[in-house]
Amino acid sequence: MSTREYMLGNVAIARGIVEGGGQVISGYPGTPSSEIIGTLAGMKERDFYVEWSVNEKVALEVAAGAAMTGVRSVVTMKHVGLNVAADPLLTLAYTGVKGSMIIIVADDPSCHSSQNEQDTRRYSQFSLIPCLDPCTPQEAKDMIPYAFEFSNKVQMPVIFRPTTRISHGKSDVELGPVNETRPAAEFVKELERWVMVPKNARVQHPHLLELQKDILNELENSPWNSLELSDGAKVGVIASGIASVYAKEAIIKQGINASFLKIGTYPVPENKIRTLMENSERIIIFEEMEPVVEEQVRIIAQETGSNVEVIGKLQGPVPRIYELNTDICSDVLADVLELERPDVPAEVAEDFDYDRCRIDLPMRPPVMCPGCSHRSTFHVMKKVYGKDAIFPSDIGCYTLGIQSGTVDTTLCMGGSITVASGMYQAGEKKPICCSIGDSTFFHTGMNGLLNAIYNKADITVTIVDNRITAMTGHQPNPGMGKLVTGEETSEVDLEALCKGLGAGFVETADPYDLKQTEEVFKRAKEYKGTSVVITEQLCVIDAKRSGIRRTPFTIDAEKCTGCRLCVNLGCPAIEFDTNTRKASINAMCTGCGVCAALCKFDAITEVKK
């Protein structure tokens, strides 16, 4: 039987967790990290505990608690999630773990689906927690069992940092054996270690610093760092993580004789860097995002009095923004080594001039699905609060409401209510109505709502509740009464929760019912203080999957006056023919009926069977 399978990087990482004998796995969904827990939860036979936690801080603490009892735990999140979990992270470095703990943080260079492109390796430096940086899905899988072992050996958590192209890359992956041993959970009281009162923290910090030497020694010779010295080469290339495969391809393509140091661990392998330095006149460094390796190389060069020329991101020409690729590496190598540039310079990709085709391509931005209830919520919100109102929003599908004119700010998870409060407290007189999804509300929105109510912010908080965490791929959350494994659990009552936090006005509306929703919003606007409107309707994709079939709608061309009221809703199922000046409904219609309610000429009706 073949042990080679075609899999997504995140599925390979999940496999690595199984092979390494992971016992407690927690996380919060975030692209590109989400499929790791999804894959583990979907396994038919499971001998580990897996959960979606309500946010990354909570998830990290759950995994930390497990690792304190001596078992192998994993927490998963995306890079911005680590900011939420940064508080426990920095102290966890002091306490360390007794079992093993891997902190998986997926980075997203180029912001494919993120609000910034921060580099998790900086948190590794900051917290003094070692970090592994895979270059392929295969290596990502293989690193996980190693990380468990390593973490246990040094009694420290390990950060594992895949990037988008690893997490959402696919590859043939050679499977390995599954570690069958399962250490039993047993917490041993060690107050000096687990209780970080100042007296203990003052002892743990020097211990943590002392530990760095052991960590460096262990990682230096791990399989994830490799140095190939090439005969007669005056150039050394250092590349880390996924940049190492881009750099390798560029070197082959250009036929360059260069020594090559591939780095997959932080702290970086200092001895290998020294050896390369002794054998090179110039060193070119490729790494995704921040110049983390480059800074270390420069420090080593200064320490050793080396004259080697260091070329990277700090002074250019390697870009410090967006993701790298083979073309960028080829161009840098060509420019630095004064070779002929390959026939297609990398910047062509970014500056590709569509006019060159002499055909204008229509923009194709991602949009809310046909029939998505967020669209009608936003429509009503805009109508009631007016164009001049301020609409802070949050992170989720509804951020696409930017096209509806109802997303004025997006800072971070849970940031909508707090930003709205700040605007009100600053003295802003315009009406303020913010929006936040159900999952985001459970994540960090609740604290913001509590704060708004307590401090008497006169704002409206709209919880766009589609009963699922849709944006990241339909993960369950505490509003659904369902665990990641499908098992039933208590279902949170959003209205009762908001009232419990002290809200004086809480009403729920069905956003498909425009009239009712409008009335609720009007009352909320009138209310003096923090009002909460919950617009509840199933996510259309989830509705379809659970077998809900609504009759699609059609437009009577005779009755259509071409007023475009329905078109302005921005639903992909509604088209407008500029020749006939009539609207029509295409096959994407999911039968929400919102456009029919909008039409003043009764031109939109259900399709008759």
Partner: protein
Amino acid sequence: MSSEGISKFDLVIAGVGGQGTILASDIIGKAAVKGNMSVRAAETHGMAQRGGSVVNHIRLGCELGSMIPMKGADVLLALEPSEALRYLEFLSDDGTIIVNTDPILPVTVTSGLCTYPDVDAIISKLEETHKVKAFNATELAKEAGHPQSMNVVMVGAVSNYLPISVDTMLECVKELVPPKTIDINAKAFEMGRNIAQE
């Protein structure tokens, strides 16, 4: 073009979120592994997914990164005509374009912000620089039994070019599509394969 020491065959699949580009790329990737070939692929997830422009890269016989360099692809498989043009820069000068001529209008067009170019104009533009196989794959899929099998029609079409046996490809189609739709998809695959041979 894919080259020695790097990759045996580089394929770019372009389309619109929801058309099934990931399934198309999965069929090919899985078939490559069955054919004992290393494979690397990259796909579009998350925010760009729904209704947005998506592109997948697949590299057969490649052990490096999954991203195909500019002008590196041997074939550009476009599930939607305007998307062929959008990702044309990935195709090598002597590469081939296989394109579904059935357009999907983006909201920017339906709401009147942009206009959609004439499909014939897109095709003749592509033909100016490259070999083009253009046909209405959505119609063929309907004939096969369901318009949703359009992606498998396109997989059938590209199977003529891939260094993977047809039997292995068809086997993977059957393994990856929903069980109820195996017959429809097998037919869709054959129809796509035949039309691209003409």
